[in-house]
């Protein structure tokens, strides 16, 4: 089977073959890489396992990152949950803590699985793994969900590089949220249309998200943004599973995202020349870190 570059093509292929999107995706992947579909799934399982390990390690740690800007938030949230719930039920609490656990591991140079990027690595695993635990979903279905998430990222990346420097954070954490929403619909047993609607609805609502990291580091606002967008992506799945449709089809949403990404000032695309990075506090932190690291050398 040849490569597929748009969502409408893959939906049509799946429809003609009477298959789920993840099945079509693993078939293509196997063909292109010249390996079996089982081997594709084995590779996905390894990534799923490493996501679970990152969560486990992150939940135990409160070590700060090299810059000192983050590392303690997951521990704070866990401490609060030991005292009692706030607004979220247990499953939402887990989505939040798993997300922070993963992205904080990333910030402290721990091992994570990029999904799609390192700076957005907390979103897909927290949603898929926390909700799979709560629904008691077996591993094969978690793998189906992760392949579905991957399919979304893969097709988007055919049009748009998944890098803050190219199209802002909409193409990193934004795409991660769409991947998570689509994966969650698959995890819950939703149909192909619902999967693509979940991704489209999610993408539409983060369009234009800027990448303005303080001191150029993957920490502020990235760490907390992972937590926010994990919860947000559940909304995308929840709406889509009720058959709420995106008025704008997903391929057009991606085109629009690309257009917006190109129109965004380079100062808001990972260069730390505007936004949060150049607030008085952002600049102060940047100066202090530069001074500290110059002294180290």
């Amino acid at each position: 089977m040849t490569q597929i570059t748009t969502f409408s093509e893959i939906l049509e292929t799946a429809h003609n073959k009477n298959k789920k999107l993840y099945e079509v995706c693993q078939e293509i992947e196997a063909d292109v890489a010249e390996i079996s579909q089982e081997e594709v799934r084995d590779k996905v399982k390894l990534i799923l396992d490493s996501m679970k390990t990152a969560i486990k390690q992150g939940l135990k740690s409160s070590e700060k990152s090299e810059s000192g800007m983050c590392g303690e938030d997951c521990a704070k949230l866990l401490k609060q949950y030991k005292k009692g719930s706030l607004f979220f039920t247990k499953v939402y609490q887990n989505v939040l803590t798993y997300s922070l656990a993963t992205i904080e591991q990333n910030a402290r140079m721990g091992k994570i699985a990029a999904c799609p990027t390192a700076g957005s690595c907390g979103i897909v695993p927290s949603v898929i793994i926390a909700i799979a635990e709560s629904l008691n979903v077996d591993e094969e279905i978690q793998i189906n969900a992760l392949i579905t998430a991957g399919l979304i990222g893969k097709v988007v990346s055919n049009k748009l590089a998944l890098a803050g420097a190219v199209a802002g954070c909409q193409s990193e954490c934004g795409v991660a949220a769409a991947m998570a929403a689509a994966g969650l619909v698959e995890l819950y047993g939703g149909n192909n249309e619902q999967i693509l609607n979940a991704a489209a609805l999610t993408l539409k609502n983060i369009m234009g998200l800027v990448c303005d990291p303080v001191a150029g580091l993957v920490e502020v606002p990235c760490v907390k943004r992972n937590a926010f967008l994990s919860i947000y992506s559940v909304t995308g799945a929840e709406l889509a599973l009720a058959d709420i449709q995106s008025v704008i089809p997903i391929d057009e949403v991606v085109d629009a995202m690309k257009q917006v990404g190109l129109m965004m000032s380079p100062k808001l695309k990972e260069s730390s020349e505007a936004g949060l990075a150049t607030t008085p506090t952002g600049l102060k932190i940047t100066e202090e870190l530069a001074k500290k690291w110059n002294e180290d050398i």
Partner: protein, 225 residues
């Protein structure tokens, strides 16, 4: 060249954080450059430019580059502790930081030294999402991304060298995916980088090594994804 992405470009790689371009990319540049030098160096000097220089400390770019040179891959838990490890291995290392906007935003020059081998200078860039390229070896332009098995040659510039090397490959039915040639001056030294769809057997390397006027040959295996 813009090939369609794999599923594993968006889920994975499993890597040590925090940044695919500034940490994983740095490891992969170090890894490829180290394979091109071909030995664990006794001394290695890194010159980091622009974003690599400005945000490198916070992203562990320095640790990543050194870890790669010492042969570690992007998912090695020891990357964080690589400075201690280098000291144990008696590898002397240093970092310098520069601003030069004629250079790529994420670029590095690595100088390798070992008493038994000629000194080498290798430059690399990190282009995003962990993708990288080695752009220069000892001043010659290359474009080695680690996506293919690659042959790297530096040789005397004279007629027929490209033919002799490629005919050896053709005899083994090895298909060339892309090729990059450069030279410093007519009749002096020239370079060849050949990306191949397939594994290069060692005896091809031996045969090329036997040719007159080949100063350096390396077989660089595809980087694990």
């Amino acid at each position: 060249m813009n090939e369609t992405k794999s599923l594993f470009d968006v889920i994975g790689p499993v890597m040590v954080g925090p940044s695919s371009s500034h940490t994983a990319g740095a490891v992969r540049i170090g890894l490829l450059a180290g394979r091109i030098f071909g030995e664990v160096p006794q001394k290695v000097k890194f010159k980091l430019y622009n974003s690599f220089a400005k945000t490198g400390k916070g992203h562990g770019t320095d640790k990543g580059l050194l870890a790669g040179v010492l042969g570690m891959d992007v998912d090695n838990d020891s990357i964080k502790k690589v400075f201690n490890l280098a000291k144990k291995m008696n590898v002397e290392y240093s970092f310098e930081f520069f601003e030069d906007y004629n250079r790529h935003p994420n670029s590095v020059d690595i100088t390798f030294e070992h008493e038994n081998f000629p000194k080498m200078k290798i430059s690399g860039i990190s282009v995003g999402a962990g993708e990288i390229a080695i752009t220069k070896i000892n001043g010659y332009k290359f474009n080695i991304s680690g996506d293919y098995d690659t042959l790297v040659l530096i040789y005397k510039d004279k007629p027929g060298m490209i033919y002799r090397v490629t005919s050896l490959l053709q005899n083994r039915y090895l298909n060339i995916a892309s090729m990059h040639c450069d030279r410093n001056a007519k009749g002096k030294e020239a370079s060849m980088g050949i990306c191949l769809d397939g594994y290069v057997p060692d005896n091809i390397i031996d045969e090329i090594n036997k040719m007159d006027d080949v100063y350096l040959i390396r077989k660089i295996e595809v980087l694990k994804k």
